[in-house]
Symmetry: C2
């Protein structure tokens, strides 16, 4: 029998265990033109929260009583498809099922010899590529400039900061845990780090860690932290807006700073982006990221939960900031 | 004797007559290296409100009990300066005085034969240039795209929309008066116009006047109108943020939409800018604007108040939207 996780309720606020349904269905068999995939690793990402709402975010909403979908690395266990062999490894947007059929469309074959399988979901996958394009194409920091990253110890932030270092910036990270703030400096090579839970005045903390102001603010969080960064932005600052994790679980109205009224005076550019905007450049970017890892210039963290039944818990814990780097569930 | 207008109080909310002081001082005389200027036209602009506050906006605050400063066209009535002759006309940032001395620095000599003197404050001056760079460099609309302009009947908006038409866009304007909405279509060649005071649902009004969505939103106003535009923005939309007149007179907190959470999904770019960022390109741009006027492709409106004592009233009325196009006081 095959295990499946459906979306049961659209969460109000933070997602909880009761928003998911564990279903058992018959084991599928690969017919003509199909492959059977065995799920190995499931990617757990903040954007999933938006798709659990009824409103259209950047992807269409998940349907109620249908399986959740996220980035998955799987192994081909049966193939009736000319393009795939049993034993192939693939990554793609797949359902939260232990086993599932695919016609192979939009799957990427991946090489377990070239890099660990989990990295195709993280540093060499969506989150690493998001950091790469957000910094190199959107933020465009110049050597000597100051790059500030929020959500800095996460899967995207930790890579974004390191790419900033590679590009010659002074890099400061904001995170919500003292141990993560230390890791940013010791493991990821950030010049300085702020634990916002430990900083009664975040604006002042940014000012003291970024004495020359902030030229690029890589924004993963939005909300109060981003509002507190604003007074420290330099003339012509750029804000790649990658995500707003602080807002995803909010319900109802909330106060926020009018960015319109602050960005004019300093000629600031705030640019939202999705990694999919740059799909044609993925091969080149992945090659660059892999080369930096090989050269020892780029490192990454993964937080790996184990067991199919723990997928919802991983998502719940992601919003508590319990991950360091990429959150993945090993099946 | 010489008439002067000082800033007396920093206004709370809308500026009022009592925030200004009328002073009389001795008539200045041009000494060596100086010129004496007679004020002819005073430019009245929304950004002046920000400088009346104590906080730094994009320009430093005006000092209390010192003259207000704005764009002014003046005539040289005495010259002890080798670079200027009696009878020359100049424009520059000058004090609200009937007569004043200058060392000639940062003054631009202007030619009353080439264009009416008032246009050097408007369509060929700061507001026309703001529209030019905001559209051509920041918004970058492509032929066939939809450009939406707020504050559309103002000095910047009316020019921005017409430049959009020249660049091949469908252009829609938002304004707060029915007669201005009509003018946008009849005089300025906009394809459609919205009177927001007449539209209970601005989001729906934008949707019906912009059936293909909005590709470039030229934002002069911020606040509730801009929030209402957001659902109509297309993927990869650009928002040149020129000003936020709806917010300038607000005191205390106000609710606003978190732009961070909406711009990611549609890969929207929101870019603040100041006309001074493009100072090196002013001559080229002014030439282009003048050529469009000559070719009949660009028209402009001016609202001209008369009399030195009416300068404060012109500023007060600007925030009531009583101007059509550029607000100027003729002395």
């Amino acid at each position: 029998m095959n295990n499946v996780i459906n979306l049961k309720n659209r969460p109000l606020g933070k997602p909880g265990y009761s928003d998911f349904d564990f279903i058992i269905e018959p084991m599928p068999q690969a017919g003509r033109g199909k492959i059977l995939l065995k799920t190995l690793y499931v990617s757990i990402d903040p954007y999933l929260r938006g798709r659990m709402n009824d409103s259209k975010s950047y992807a269409s909403p998940f349907e109620l009583n249908k399986p959740m979908v996220s980035g998955i690395v799987a192994e081909v266990t049966q193939s009736e498809h000319p393009g795939f062999n049993k034993g192939d490894f693939v990554s793609g947007m797949l359902q939260w099922k232990e086993y599932q059929l695919s016609d192979g469309e939009k799957l990427l074959k991946i090489d377990p010899e070239a890099a660990p399988l989990t990295t195709y979901l993280g540093v060499l996958g969506m989150t690493g590529l998001t950091a790469y394009f957000g910094i190199t194409v959107v933020g465009k920091p110049r050597p000597g400039e100051t790059l500030l990253v929020s959500g800095a110890a996460g899967a995207v932030g930790s890579i974004a900061g390191q790419i900033g270092k590679i590009m010659g910036c002074r890099v400061v990270g904001i995170t919500g845990h003292g141990n993560k703030a230390r890791l940013l400096k010791t493991k990821f090579g950030f010049d300085d780090a702020i634990n916002y839970r430990d900083s009664p005045d975040i604006t002042a903390a940014v000012a003291s860690t970024c004495p020359n102001g902030v030229d690029v603010y890589f924004d993963n969080v939005g909300g109060a932290i981003s509002d507190a960064v604003v007074p420290n932005l330099n003339k012509f600052a750029r804000i790649p807006v990658c995500g707003s994790i602080s807002l995803y679980n909010l319900t109802g109205d909330h106060q926020c700073l009018s960015m319109q009224s602050v960005i004019t005076g300093k000629s600031i550019t705030m640019q939202g982006f999705l990694v999919s905007d740059y799909a044609s450049e993925f091969p080149k970017a992945t090659k660059q990221l892999a080369a930096w890892i090989k050269e020892g210039k780029l490192t990454y963290s993964e937080t790996i939960y184990e067991g199919f039944r723990n997928i919802p818990q991983a998502l719940i814990d992601l919003f508590e900031g319990k991950n360091e780097g990429k959150m993945i569930v090993k099946i």
